[in-house]
């Protein structure tokens, strides 16, 4: 027959393998809260767990009236058939998810993996830098570089010790790990660029830097490596609708040209990215986002006892 390949158990139809059934949506199997704003969801989607590569992202709709929001895949487990997302509750949609996404509930829509996978090239020595929420999505890249035989220096940055997560995961795949905290409560005091400086000083032969985090942090990383001419890849996460190249809402300027982060990226050469343009475009719906959050918070206050509101 030749029809019982790896994507399909014998006798099953392809369609039963595609995600989970429509009736149940995409089931949440694990939830972990790293802080009062940061939380992890592990979601069952065997086919996506098979397909996912470092650097790719998904689009999520938490309910039928929700927005489509892009989230970078923070981990995938091909054996368990799950993908992991780490979410920061900052706007209406993510705060609502923080409240509603529990083990046993499911997401209305989950599509991916999207974007061009990161190029895990032949660099012998790489530095993977994650700042704040960028710590999670840089993990698959660090692991992939390690699996490809590179010497991996991990640099992860947080505001303070209490917010640190996944230190153990990074230790398991990094030859060296530098933890940076803004207040010096753990590891190196200062931003991740402080860690980059130390890494470059100790290892003049670093062949590539991967930096993921807020735009300002990625910009600072790119500036830190520019004088050393170290190839620096950043992962951009602008506002998206479809994630398939159809709307152009996620366009960014790279090397003076318009690129769509969803299908041309999300990884781009950090030395070529116009970060000013990116930060401006990220403010695009600032007014609408604020009023949506205010309206939502107001409605929560009316329906939820104050001690539970926002706490998840």
């Amino acid at each position: 027959m030749g029809r019982n390949g790896s994507l399909e158990a014998p006798g099953t139809r392809a369609s039963t393998m595609l995600g989970t059934s429509k009736d149940s949506g995409y089931g949440i199997v694990t939830r972990e809260d790293f802080s009062d704003v940061t939380f992890l969801l592990e979601i069952r989607h065997p086919l996506m767990a098979q397909a996912a590569q470092p650097g790719q992202f998904v689009i999520v709709m938490s309910h039928a009236e929700g927005e489509r929001i892009p989230l970078t895949i923070a981990d995938f487990d091909r054996g368990k058939g799950t993908i992991t997302l780490v979410i920061q509750a900052v706007g209406k949609t993510t705060r609502e998810m923080q409240q509603l996404c529990r083990i046993g509930t499911s997401l209305f829509a989950l599509v991916g993996p999207m974007g061009v996978p990161s190029h895990v090239g032949g660099a012998r020595k790489v530095t993977c830098v994650g700042g704040g929420l960028g710590v999670a999505p840089v993990f698959p890249q660090a692991r992939a570089f390690k699996e490809a035989g590179a010497y991996v220096i991990g640099i992860i940055g947080f505001r303070t010790r209490a917010l640190v997560f996944w230190e153990d995961k990074f230790r398991s795949c990094c030859d060296e790990l530098i933890v940076c905290t803004d207040d010096g409560s753990m590891g190196v005091k200062g931003p991740v660029t402080e860690g980059i400086k130390r890494a470059i000083a100790a290892h003049p032969d670093i062949g590539e830097v991967v930096a993921i985090g807020p735009p300002l942090m990625m910009k600072a990383c790119a500036e830190a490596t520019r004088p050393h001419k170290i190839n620096t890849m950043v992962s951009l996460n602008p506002v998206m609708v479809d994630g398939t190249g159809m709307c152009g809402g996620c366009r960014v300027r790279v090397g003076g040209q318009i690129k769509f982060a969803c299908v041309d990226g999300p990884d781009f050469d950090g030395h070529q990215v116009d970060f000013e343009d990116l930060t401006t475009r990220l403010r695009r719906f600032a007014t609408e986002e604020k009023s949506a959050l205010d309206r939502w918070s107001e409605s929560c206050r009316m329906t939820t006892p104050p001690e539970e509101a926002g706490g998840g």
Binding site: E8, A14, V111, P113, M246, G248, I258
Partner: protein, 500 residues
């Protein structure tokens, strides 16, 4: 049979359907053009001359027997009319609304040489809408043939291909990246032109044929076409992913906030329901919106902006109304609704404020130059005619490039511009993989995409070795002077009959 109709005996005036008042409708998303009443439809059907060699059928990309269904309307056999249409086209309600009839079926109608042509599109819609209302479906009995067909993209090309392959007995699965099926019919064409209920009804028809829809599935990334053929057991695949990669102007100010593609505007409004406060997707529009381009998508974008409450909506187009690629009816409706057209005007810069938002545009006036070798007069700038005007949103509707995802993930032969290369049967360079619609031709119309979907289905059936169950052949009755020993003189010894 009644007396033969001639151009003099038919009703001279084309029947006008009721339309919503322009002032009223520019504030709502209900349909602009109401469906024909039964009396209107029968009266309009009387304007058809039943030409022996109907040019309208030749003009129809899917070859509907147009005089055939119009005759049935005249006989008030509406179900019969529906049967005739669905023989060629499952999506009567959609096509009756969105086809550019003036260049397809109605364009060559001989009635149009002296009077206005028969309102074929409106008659088709009348039949399609009645079918939805009466819940008619034409689901033929189909003998399953155990072939499995995968369709990538649930837009018009994919839907048409799915319908034909399901009718041929294949097990058909349609993959859609969005969370709802329908493709451009869903995200692109606004409700006042094509209500969602119509799309739902057409998709239900496909489901009744046994077609399965898998949404939230990005083929190429979740699995590849090679995997579909090699590992997932699909015997044939159709790629109908659409062109979908909007072009921007390449002028200063392109990436300012509040500059967006028509695709993004329409997707936020139509599919994500940004206009409905119970939905979360935002779509802020200013008081003054400038839409660049004058195709159907531009018309849709402008009319959406009017309905979302913008006070001034400008159409900026570098050629004249005569060159506008939009359907005549759409331009007419847009004009009625108060869209301000600026023909022969070309944008040279989008002006921004300190926060990176649009504050206006700089344009230049154009004039039509000497005809080029194709006879078309190209627009040329008028020196010194630059001017600026205020705008707080700019919508770009100047067309699309090929979407790169399939090209990035499958080893299909592409053209230099990224479109999929196909042969005359719409077969791609990969065995068993066919492609059609915008991803092959670049942006075109809904019905052209459907025509491509059907053509690919024919190629696919031949490739799979499936006898075409749409068409069976039987000999004409023996005898009479038209045959010699039972063989038709004009080789017309076979006629097409329809099953189901």
């Amino acid at each position: 049979m009644a007396k033969k109709r001639t151009i003099r005996t038919i009703p001279q005036e084309r029947t006008r359907p009721h339309e919503q008042d322009p002032v009223e409708r520019a504030k709502n998303f209900s349909e602009v053009t109401c469906v024909f009443s039964i009396e209107d439809a029968v009266r309009e059907s009387e304007r058809c001359l039943f030409c022996p060699d109907p040019k309208c059928v030749e003009g129809c990309p899917v070859g509907i027997d147009i005089p055939g269904f119009i005759r049935k309307i005249g006989e008030k056999d509406f179900r019969g009319a529906y049967d005739v249409i669905t023989d060629a086209n499952l999506l009567a309600s959609v096509c009756g609304r969105v086809c550019p009839q003036e260049t397809q079926c109605e364009g060559p109608c001989p009635v149009g040489e002296n009077l206005e042509p028969v309102a074929i599109g409106r008659l088709e819609r009348f039949v399609g809408d009645m079918a939805i209302q009466e819940r008619w479906t034409n689901i033929p009995y189909v003998e399953p043939n155990r072939y499995r067909v995968g369709i990538i993209g649930s837009g018009p090309a994919g839907m048409a291909c799915a319908a034909d392959m399901a009718k041929a007995g294949c097990e058909v699965t349609v993959f859609e990246a969005f969370h709802v099926p329908g493709g451009v019919l869903r995200y692109g064409i606004p409700d006042f032109r094509l209500p969602n209920e119509v799309i739902d009804a057409e998709i239900d028809n496909l489901r009744a044929l046994g077609v399965r829809f898998e949404c939230n599935t990005l083929v190429g990334r979740l699995f590849t076409i090679e995997q579909m053929i090699g590992e997932m057991g699909f015997d044939a695949v159709f790629v109908g992913t659409g062109a979908g990669y909007p072009r921007f102007m390449g002028i200063p100010g392109d990436s300012l906030n509040n500059v967006l593609s028509a695709n993004e505007l329409l997707t936020r409004c139509n599919m994500m329901r940004a206009r409905d406060s119970s939905h979360d997707t935002p779509l802020p529009l200013g008081r003054r919106v400038a839409v660049i381009g004058a195709g159907n998508t531009a018309m849709d974008a402008m009319r959406v902006c009017m309905r979302l409450g913008s006070e001034h909506v400008y159409c900026i187009y570098r050629r004249t109304k005569a060159e506008s690629p939009a359907r005549v009816e759409e331009v007419h409706h847009a004009e009625e609704e108060g869209i301000e057209f600026h023909w022969l005007t070309n944008p040279i810069e989008i002006l921004g404020d300190a926060e990176g938002n649009v504050r206006g545009m700089r344009c230049i006036r154009m004039e039509l130059g000497e005809p080029d070798e194709s006879g078309r007069r190209g627009p040329v700038p008028v020196a010194g005619s630059e001017f600026e005007f205020e705008a707080d949103t700019v919508v770009i509707a100047i067309g699309t490039h090929a979407n790169p995802i399939i090209g990035q993930t499958a080893k299909l032969k592409l053209s230099s511009r990224g479109y999929i290369e196909v042969d005359e049967n719409l077969a791609t360079s990969m065995a068993g993989v066919f492609a059609g619609g915008d991803i092959v031709t670049g942006a075109a119309t809904v019905i052209e995409a459907m025509g491509a979907g059907r053509k690919a289905a024919r190629g696919m059936k031949a490739w799979l070795g499936i006898r075409d169950t749409d068409t069976v052949y039987q000999p004409e009755p023996v005898g009479g002077e038209a045959t010699i020993l039972g063989i038709g003189i004009a080789e017309k010894n076979f006629v097409r009959v329809h099953l189901g």
